[in-house]
Each structure stands twice: as C-alpha cells, then as structure tokens.
C-alpha cells in the first residue's frame, strides 16, 4: 500500500545537482571544479565547430604580415575575432589545444625586396603599456617669494629642500608640508640642489656662480666650489664617488672633488649654456644637456665626450635617468621633444610625442611613471617603457598670480616614487600623488 510511485532516484539526483550548480555557479569556480578532461574536450569541440574557418588568417593578410611570426610577441597575435575577456585558465587550455604554428609562411606571399621592407616596417615591436593609476594634486605649499627653481628629496625621505628666486633654500617636512628651515647665503636664484646619500651634506648652486656645500648638522656653509665663470644652472652628485658635477651658463660642466674642493675636470665642448647635468654610477657617468640642442655623454675618468647626441632641434633643458633601467630621457622644446636613449652608447630608443611645450623638467620613478613639466604649465604623465601618455594635466597657478605664471620649473619623485614634488613660476611647491581606488 505504500507503493506510492516514487519518481526514480537517478533523474532527481541529477536534477538536484544541476540546480545546486546553478545556484552556486556564481559563488566561485573552486567549489565546482569541472573535470579537466571533459572541459578540454568540450572546448576543443566548440573551437572546431565554430572557428574552423578562421583558424588561420587569409593568405593575403598573412603575406602582408610577413614571416616574423614566432618572434612576434604574444600580445600581437592578431585574431579576427576578439572574444570577451577570458580567464587565464581558459586561454591556457586553448593554447594547449591549438597546436598549430601561429604563422606559416604563405606559399604565394610575394618575396620581392620592396614588399619585404614594407612588411618589415610594419612589424613594430610594440609593448603594451602598463597601467598606472592617475595622479592628483594633493598639496600646494606656498612659502617662497620667488620662482621655485630646484627641488631635492632627502635620501631618508623625511624632508625635501627647495631653492627659489628669492635666494633662499627652504627645507620642508615631506609628510606634513611644514617649513622646517630656511637657509640663506646665496645672493641670486638657487638653481640646483642635491642631498648626498653618503654625507650629511646639502649641495646648492645658483646664478651667483656659487656652488655651496651645507653641513646639515650645523646648517652652515662649509665649502665653496669656486670656478664657474657664470651662473650655475644644475648640479648632480655622483652616486658612488665623492664627486660633484655642476654645469652652467659658461657652457661647461665642472667636476669637483667634494672634500678638497679641487676642480678635477672641466667638461668643455658644449657651445651654449649647459642646462642640465645628471650623474649615474656606470658609464656614461655624466650626461649633460645643453642649449646648443645637444646631449653629451661623458667619460668621467678621461673628462672627454664619448657620445654627442644631436637629435634634438631646440635647446635641451631637462634630463632624467631611470633608476633601474639603463636608459635616460632628454627633453627640449617643440614637437617630438622628449627622447629616450639607451644608456651605454646613447642609442635612440623612441620619442615621447604629444607634449608640445618647452619642457622644463623631467622625472621618472622606478615604477616607470615618467613626468614632464612644461614652461606653459602643462604636465604630462607617461609610461616610460612605451612612451604613451596616460595623463595630461594643467598646472593651476595659485590665486593672485598671473596667467603666465603657470610654468613648472623643477620636479622630483620622492624616494618611494609615490609622490611627485614640483616647483613652479607661481612661487608654490605642488605635491602630486597617485590616486588610490
């Protein structure tokens, strides 16, 4: 009598499992791991079913692409149809299924030299730019009475120093932005600052032809490096040697021994003002950019030019050396004005194109964020590896200043690379930071 006809167990169980799957499908993939073999089979069937005709490019397109298949980076595999973003797992599976070579030389691809050259030109090695979060102005510090022409961050990342047209060097707390100290002593605009990582010294140079060494334990000038014939516009410390390089309006860069104040070298060869100088630990140890629109790489031991780069059309005002990559960038005025160079020999890498202004300053951090600041107040953030701009901004001059006082004169990333400090013609120091989601 209890022979009530129960439904068969098997279909119910299957139904139940299906429902469970439907319910929890959105939860996570781990719970309901599909069987690897069956999934592969399913995808293989699907691929064969749907994409059989489109597995290869048509021969015309293939010939256009040329014969550089394997060398091409992965990102460039051109598909006719791009699907919605797939997870890594699936793509890995597809890769294992798809055994076909990615490009096969087509039998009837034209093999004339001209067409080869043309196709070669098309196979550019573009690297996908990495994502950088946008940057945002977080702090404006107004305290200087003149153009802020130089900025330097201390190696300990506690404070930074700025030098301005009011002949004063001011030291600010990096975290709070409060003024810690004002150093007076220069009698003209302070154009260059550097804090030594191996000494308690701050070095400054100015348009008054003076290069000073400040002892930060006594806050006093302890040394003068005398010898420049005109204003000193830039200063750089050698990272491994006790050597300091200054450059200025007398068209020369001078190498000084830090302790004895003796001038080791006069790096002469430029025919106009040397606007910027940078040092690095390996050759070329000194790089100078000049108003004669050349960049020179110097052999520090010999005091001679190793390479002269004459690609720029206008005066080179800014240089930036990447902290981890063996390359540097230089900036001048006009179009195609920022160029990246590979380091030991100074080979041209590419142009950062898109910032049409007089470039006053360049900075780059270890994450590959490259900053260029223009004389008209335009700021551009680039991806250093690819040269693509990811953010364009305009400097907002502080209220009360003229429209023309929007220029950016100096910039530097702090030691962590998360903050950018710029000094401008509106007499303020601006701090930019990455926008965090």
């Amino acid at each position: 009598m209890t022979t009530v006809s129960l439904p068969p167990l098997d279909p119910m169980f299957r139904k139940n499992s299906k429902r469970t799957r439907d319910v929890f499908a959105s939860e996570s993939d781990d719970v309901l791991q599909e069987d690897e073999a069956s999934a592969r089979l399913r995808i293989a069937v699907k691929i064969n079913d749907e994409y059989r005709d489109f597995k290869e490019l048509p021969s015309a397109l293939l010939s256009q692409q040329g014969t550089v298949g394997p060398a091409r980076p992965r990102e460039l595999t051109r598909k006719m149809i791009t699907a919605a973003p797939v997870d890594a797992n699936t793509s890995r599976m597809i890769a294992t299924i798809d055994k076909t070579p990615q490009a096969q030389p087509s039998t009837f691809s034209s093999s004339t030299k001209l067409s080869q050259a043309l196709t070669l030109h098309k196979t550019t090695r573009t690297i996908k730019p990495t994502y950088h979060p946008p940057w945002k102005l977080v702090r404006v510090i107004s305290g200087h009475l003149g153009w802020v022409r130089s900025v330097a961050v201390e190696p300990g990342n506690q404070w930074f120093a700025t030098g301005a047209g009011d002949r004063v060097i001011k030291i600010w707390d990096l975290a709070s932005g409060e003024l810690k100290l004002s150093l007076t002593g220069h009698i003209s605009t302070v154009r260059g600052l550097a804090v030594s990582s191996r000494h308690p010294y701050l070095f400054s140079c100015g348009e008054d032809k003076m290069v000073k060494c400040w002892d930060l334990e006594a806050n006093k000038v302890i040394r003068h490096y005398h010898g420049h014939l005109s204003g000193v516009y830039s200063l750089s410390l050698h990272p491994t040697l006790d050597v300091l390089v200054t450059a200025g309006r007398d068209a020369s860069a001078r190498v000084w021994d830090m302790r004895t104040k003796a001038q080791i070298h006069v790096l002469s060869g430029h025919t106009a003002t040397v606007a910027d100088v940078k040092c690095q630990e390996s050759d070329p140890q000194v790089i100078t950019g000049s108003m004669d629109s050349t960049v020179r790489l110097w052999d520090l031991a010999a005091g001679k030019t190793r390479v002269t780069l004459t690609h720029h059309k206008k005066s080179v005002r800014a240089l930036a050396i990447h902290p981890t990559e063996y390359s540097f960038a230089s900036g001048s005025a006009g179009g195609n004005n920022i160029k990246k160079w590979k380091c030991p020999e100074g080979a041209f890498v590419f142009n950062f194109s898109g910032h049409n202004a007089i470039i006053n300053t360049l900075s780059v951090n270890a994450e590959g964020v490259f900053f260029s600041g223009g004389d008209n107040g335009t700021l551009t953030f680039w991806d250093y590896n690819t040269g693509t701009p990811f953010q364009n901004m305009d400097d907002v001059p502080q209220p009360g200043s003229l429209e023309a006082e929007a220029g950016v004169f100096c910039s530097t990333f702090d030691q962590t690379g998360t903050r950018l400090i710029t000094g401008g013609a509106d007499k303020t120091i601006k701090v930019y930071a990455e926008q965090s989601q």
Binding site: V255, A301, T310, H311, K313, G346, F348, F350
Partner: protein, 576 residues
C-alpha cells in the same frame, strides 16, 4: 691542355689550399706577357704627334718640336698636393663607410652617430638583436669596477691638482752635498797630476723667491671636430607663423618711419589741432564774473566797516579831548588861585572827569560831613595833580637848559644808541668777529672814493652832514615840542612818524587858516633850511667902499632913510 700540363708537372711545394681556375691560369698569362712598346715616329715625321705617356720618352729627353708641356721621367712636374682626402673605406659587407670622416681624428672609444640607423627607434632597427635592445643596469660588480677605475683616475688628477696648494718640497740646506775625487788630466806636465777632492753642494734656494720666468699660458688647442648633425634643418617659418611673430612698428608723432624728426608744423597739421575750434564753457566766464562781483562787494563792506570804526574812534577821541581840555582849564584856574564858582556845567564835567579816578560823587543833597570829606578828597587829588604839573615843568626847564652834550646824550638814549647802561648791565658785548668790526656801511661810499681824487679837491663839506638821516630830521623838526624823553617822541624816529606827529592836531585847533604871510605859497620843506650863498653885498661893504671912493659924508645922505620910512608907511597903508 692546362690540366694535362698540371698533371705532368710536380706538385708545387706551397700550394694554395683552395685553388680555383683563375689561379691556375694566371702563371701562363705571366709567361706569355707581351711587352708592347709605343712607336715613336722618327724625327721629322712627328707633326701631329705628341708624347702621351712616360714610355714615349724612353730613357729621357723631351721632344722640342712637339709644343706641349712635357715631363720626361716626371722631371719638373709639380707634385700633386698630398691633400687631406681620406682613402675610401669599405666595411666587411662592402658598403662604403661614409662616416669615416666623422671618426677621423677622434679617440677610438668615441661613438659617433652619423648614419640613418641612428635616427631609427631602437625597436625598428634591423641591425640589432634582442640582446642589444635590453636595457638592464650593469651588475654590482661591474658598477664596482667602474667606480674603482674612475676613482683611481680622478684621485690621480686630484693629487696633481692639490699638490700645488701643498707646501713644496723644502730644500734641505746642507743635505745635498757630495764629495768627488777629481783627477785632472795631463795638461801641463807632471805637476798637474794631483788628485783633488771637490765638495759639491747645491745652491741654497730661497723658497719664497718669486719665479724667475714668466709663466706663459699655452693657447687652447683646436676643439674636437663637430659631430654630425642628425636633425633636420630648421624649417622655414610659414606665412602664418611669421604673421604671429610680427610686432607692429611703433608709431610716433615725433619721428617718421626713417627715424627723422617730423617738423613741428607738419606734426601740428597732421595732429588736426588747428581744425577743431576750442569751445570754452560759459560757466568759466560766469564763475569769474561772480567772483569779481563778490570781491567787490566784500571790499565795499570792509570799507564801510572801517569807515564806521573810524567815525567811532573819532568821536571817542573828541570826547577825550574835551575832557582833557576841561581838566587843563581847571588846572590853570587852580594854579592862578581863582577858583571860580563852578557852574553847573563845569560841575558836571568835573564829576564826569573825576569819575575816572574812582571817587564816588555824591548828589547835591548830601550831608555836610560828606561834603567836607569830599572836599578833602578833592584837595588831595588837586595836590597830586599839582605835583605832577610841577615835575613836568621842572623837566621841561631842565630840558631847555640842557647843554649840547647832555642833549645829545639824551637823544642818543632816545634812539637806543646810548649803550652805557647796557654795558654796565653786561648785556652789550663787543662783536667777536674781526670782519664785522668793520662797518660795511662805510664801504663803497663816495667819500671814500674821494680819497682817490686829486689832493687839491676840497669836497669835505659839499654834502649836507646829516643828509637823509632820521636824526637830522628829528633835530630840525621836533625841536620845540619834545614833550618827554620817551620812545614815541619824534614819531619813533621815522620820517613818517615825525610827519604824523607834526600833523597831529593835539588841541583841536585845526589847520591854521592864516599862517605866516607868504608861507602858504612856499613849498613844504623837509629838512633843514637850505641857505643860499648870497652873492650880493650883504653888509653894503662894496657900497660903502664905493661911497668912500666918491668922498660923500654919511650924515648928509638922507634920501635913502626917508625913502625907507616912506616905504614902511606905504606898506602899512596897504595893510589897512
């Protein structure tokens, strides 16, 4: 054939490892070389022929009949300049190295970018492989090595640089001595064969001695050759760009385009200044007129007011005079002893005048005792007045009887010129400065210049003594009426003051209607009476002498005396 020959011949000892056909052929060619000789036409048949190569000359000698420049054996030929042309260089692939010139003269480690490939971005370049494209920083060891190498090089330089600043190697004064045994050669016989020991020591140098030779700066060597320029030349500015840079020229009203000054008339003409008529607002005229009217009105008012004040003052003065006159009259009467019964009128006047002395005047119906008291008081006053009058008279008398000296002193005191009292009080001090001791008023005077005139000239008295001086005016004019020796007498010493004092009608007598006879038509004198030198016979001396000559007796002459009497009588009649 050649192969057959090769098979017959023994193998060469030094055979090329790789042989090809050409190498095999070459020796036969050399063997069969035919030396061709250019045929020089014999002498006399050389018309139209000229030596073209060196072979034509044979062993030497030119052909004088051929009129071309000839250099047998290259003699006399100018050497082509060695030149600084570079030899054409080819790289391993056979491409011409056009950048050889850029590398020439440079240090071997210098990199010169001179080719198109240097303009191509790194990832587009064909000639590089991936290892060339990597941009990895050198390893720690490499960095260390570079640093060490550089440090060594720089240290060497620094040591050289700072050596100049360090103290020089101080020469030790007696350390550098050495002894040399010296055997002289045989110069003059055996006597010279003696050994000597010579002490050699360096001359001590003054470390502070300035350098004896001028340090000359060597001029800088030529700079390294300029690097090839890898940028395109600057583009010509487009019209639009040029327009953007165009700054309009300054337009001046004063200078024309060429920088010359525009003439004034042209400038004004261009200005259009003459064309526009000037319109002045009517209100200016109205305003000035109103001002004028207001000014006149104000002046009139002021005049009226001053007139009124003057009248009042006059009235007051008159009343005061009247009082004084009454007082004077009373005093005169008292002095004469006749006390007239005061009439009611005089009584009233008396009372009013005495009111100033503070005596309260009683009414007529007062008691007898009061009357006597009043009399007493009045007497006292009278006594006082009498005393005053006496004093005044005494002073007057004194003044009249004063001697000349005394009077001059008096005058001096009045004019503040007597400083004897001030000296006594110590107020007056002699002037300290030597320059001011000289009275500058004495300079530049005619009397002084007179000293340069001739000695005979006698012009000491040709000018009045007190000409124009106020003292003189005072002496003359105010003689009779010096009331007191006070400051105000003589009208303060000024001429205006004196004139006013003279005109002052003290006793309200008014201007004399009839003055001295004939004085009215005299012009008013100001200053002392000027006497004229009488050229006539004052004392009748000449006449007397004449008469004496004629011999007439005086007493007999009655005609003249009678006539004089008659004249006087006639005059009296006229006056009647």
């Amino acid at each position: 054939m050649a192969s057959a020959l090769a098979s017959i011949l023994p193998q060469p000892v030094y055979a090329p490892s790789v042989s090809d056909d050409e190498d095999d052929v070459r020796p036969t060619v050399v063997n069969q070389a035919i030396i061709t000789r250019a045929v020089v036409p014999p002498y006399g048949q050389r018309r139209g022929w000229k030596p073209t190569s060196q072979e034509d000359f044979g062993d030497g000698g030119s052909f004088p009949e051929c009129h071309v420049a000839q250099y047998p054996l290259g003699m006399g030929k100018k050497k082509a300049s060695s030149g600084n042309t570079l030899a054409l260089q080819v790289d391993s692939e056979g491409n011409v190295r056009y950048d050889a010139i850029a590398h020439q003269g440079q240090r071997p480690d210098k990199i010169v970018q001179s080719q198109f490939k240097d303009l191509v971005p790194l990832f587009h370049r064909k000639d590089l492989d991936d290892t060339d494209r990597t941009m990895d920083r050198p390893s720690e060891e490499e960095v260390q090595e570079t640093a060490e190498k550089t440090r060594a090089a720089l240290e060497k330089l620094v040591n050289g640089k700072i050596k100049a600043a360090q103290p020089k190697n101080v020469p030790d004064s007696q350390g550098k001595t050495s002894f040399i045994r010296y055997t002289p050669g045989q110069q003059n016989g055996a006597s010279a064969l003696k050994q000597r020991i010579i002490k050699m020591s360096e001359v001590v140098e003054d470390p502070l001695e300035p350098p004896r030779f001028k340090h000359k700066k060597i001029p800088r060597g030529p700079p390294s050759p300029p690097p090839p320029v890898l940028r395109s030349p600057p583009r010509k500015a487009t019209a639009a760009e040029q327009k953007e840079w165009m700054i309009p020229p300054c337009i001046s009203n004063w200078k024309n385009n060429k920088g010359f000054t525009i003439p004034l008339d042209k400038r004004l003409a261009a200005d259009g200044r003459g064309l526009q008529d000037i319109h002045i607002n009517d209100n200016f005229a109205k305003f000035s007129e109103a001002l004028f009217v207001a000014d006149r009105h104000a002046r009139e008012e002021v005049r009226q007011r001053s007139l009124m004040q003057q009248k009042l003052a006059q009235k007051e003065k008159a009343s005061k005079e009247e009082n004084l006159r009454l007082l004077a009259q009373r005093a005169r009467e008292e002095r004469s002893g006749v006390v007239p019964k005061p009439t009611a009128q005089t009584e009233a006047a008396m009372k009013s005048s005495l009111a100033a002395y503070g005596s309260d005047s009683g009414s007529e119906s007062e008691a007898e005792s009061e009357d006597s008291a009043e009399d007493e008081e009045a007497r006292k006053i009278r006594d006082q007045m009498r005393q005053e009058k006496r004093r005044e008279r005494e002073r007057e008398m004194r003044m009249n009887n004063m001697g000349q000296e005394q009077r001059a002193k008096m005058l001096a005191r009045q004019q503040n010129r007597d400083i004897s009292e001030k000296v006594a009080l110590g107020l007056a001090k002699p002037t300290m400065s030597k320059e001011s001791m000289l009275d500058s008023r004495l300079f530049n005077q005619e009397s002084l210049s007179g000293s340069f005139a001739e000695d005979e000239s006698y012009n000491l008295y040709d000018k009045p003594l007190f000409h124009g001086s106020t003292a003189a005016a005072a002496i003359y004019k105010a003689r009779g009426n010096i009331p007191e020796g006070n400051e105000d007498s003589f009208g303060g010493g000024t001429e205006e003051g004196i004139g006013k004092a003279l005109d002052n009608d003290r006793f309200n007598l008014g201007q004399a209607r009839v003055g001295f006879e004939g004085a009215a038509d005299q012009e008013i004198r100001e200053g002392p009476v000027q006497f004229e030198k009488d050229t006539g016979d004052v004392f009748g001396l000449n006449q007397f002498l004449d008469e004496a000559k004629t011999g007439k007796k005086r007493g007999l002459d009655t005609g003249t005396g009678g006539s004089r009497k008659r004249q006087q009588l006639e005059k009296a009649d006229d006056r009647e």
